[in-house]
Symmetry: D3
Subunit: 125 residues, 6 copies
């Protein structure tokens, strides 16, 4: 199995709902350094999983939709508890929509919220 990963980031504000989150129930924010991994069982005719420039553009586009925003105020995220795990799935699903039909087998997205904590979501394509 082959994979290619590209890294980008976004800066967002949000708050989390639920007592388990303690002080993170207050409005705060995070830099998410985001790794998007594209998997493919065999390489295409150019010898690649996906063009690294094309993969970076797909990730950049999703970062631009979410970055420099207060996620609590985004209509399309209404009712979503924007935990790192949930955002990893949201980013993976949005990237999947952009690269469908290109022969990929799966996608994994990792959001690093600090040097000591991160979350991932892995899905087939």
């Amino acid at each position: 199995m082959f994979s290619v990963t590209v890294r980008d980031h976004m800066l967002i504000a949000h708050s989390l709902r639920g007592e388990v989150f303690g002080p993170a129930q207050r409005l705060h924010g995070a830099t998410y350094v985001v790794d998007a991994t594209f998997r493919r069982a065999s390489l295409d005719a150019d010898g690649i999983v996906v063009d690294i420039g094309r993969a970076a553009e797909a990730l950049r586009a999703v970062m631009s939709e979410l970055g420099y925003r207060n996620l609590d105020d985004e209509p399309e995220l209404a009712g979503v508890n924007t935990t790192t795990e949930a955002l990893a799935k949201l980013v993976a699903d949005r990237i999947a929509d952009r690269v469908r039909g290109e022969g990929l087998d799966g996608i994994t997205v990792t959001l690093r919220e600090s040097h000591v904590a991160w979350a991932s979501y892995e899905r087939p394509l």
Copy 2:
């Protein structure tokens, strides 16, 4: 599949038994930067795999049991060759004991012994 990872570290002394280890048969030590990854097929009612604070506490507790010690002198490690691989399993098993019954599917523990070498152990829960 979702996962959450938290990072901590411990400083220990030990020696390794077996000619394959060369100079590492002498008493020496290591900093292990330890990543504990918790896996879960779907998120819980709060939208998380495990609370990051709770995960960090479980890892911290295990680090405190082992850190600032000479592992060669620990009665409960008598007869164990404390290689990085064996310690990865030991840490994973101890964390598993602390988080059982919380709906997790698996745990992976990685011990980084330097910037150029690390070992992992992956297990279901």
Copy 3:
């Protein structure tokens, strides 16, 4: 010259005032991974610049004052444009207040806002 550095982090929300900031004028947030460096021309009687545990506590205390907050709403930051540079100075000055009189010669604080951008402030003590 000797130095000791400890690392911690904080998650905050804020917005920036000024056209130069473009989309960062909107309410957003950041994870700041913060490195606090303590400098001293010669070591103390214990052979250290500052105890690493003591340095980590001073940094942790300042992180707790600022973290999990919307800096736009903090009364003591009213009128401050909380750029990464300005926050580096704020953190350095607050740590300085906590370690004065311990023989240190200077402090540098670096705030990493992503894997591709960071800011520092260096001052004598």
Copy 4:
């Protein structure tokens, strides 16, 4: 499942064939920071997956065969489009040839071409 990873690097020149590569069709080069991961279901009699020194030597040997060369001029790579993905497979296959018969279950090789892009190839042994 256990694994051990060692890291090394190589500096090479090459060019890529195919319009998708844009400016990378010109002769350029890269530093590949290479992680070789060795997997094994259970530890051997010494309590290891593979000796870290032995693993590092196998990786070093493969790096020496490729490093400080223009891959476009290597007879044994004639006809190969030396993408990061293809090189990950090449390195994994060469390491596999060096460690066969030592009870390993699989190998993964990751080539990091920058701080924002990398590729992997995973195979059984």
Copy 5:
């Protein structure tokens, strides 16, 4: 003293002249992960050293002039031994030309050629 740093990278081919370089006298290449640090004694009216977006653009422009090229064939580098040190100065001088007159006190450029070696050049502005 304040500073702001931005990171980018370039992929180049080159060879080095001089017996001291051993195998690096052959045509090979490198990824340089490049950190450009901008220094300023006091912040400007917006509370910054330099806008991070503006700094990133200046660095990006210089990377584009050099990247995806064989430096041995660049007319403007004829006669230059393109060591990591010499390239650090070249990049710093080119960035300096782009940001002169903006109140900066100095620039430092670091080129990381691998995870175990890097070079820097520091200059006033």
Copy 6:
């Protein structure tokens, strides 16, 4: 001012003397990831501060003298409290002895004891 840095590491056991060290008064150990920086005002005839291979050898030699040892038992360290700061100076002084007379202006050595703590010593040459 130019500089070149090379990275290596050593694994040691030791204990620290003094109540300030708390649990680190017990025999334990550490991996020190060590960065040795060589400074020079202008480049030599080959266009370098120091050959990276030569610098790496000097650092490797010093790592070999100290690594895989219990520093408490080393006769030449008798009476030395082997704090990270003191070891940074020891390593810098030993490297200085090996590169004297090569036109260098100074050396800085940084010992990283974990992902969240490190110490440096800077000296002229």
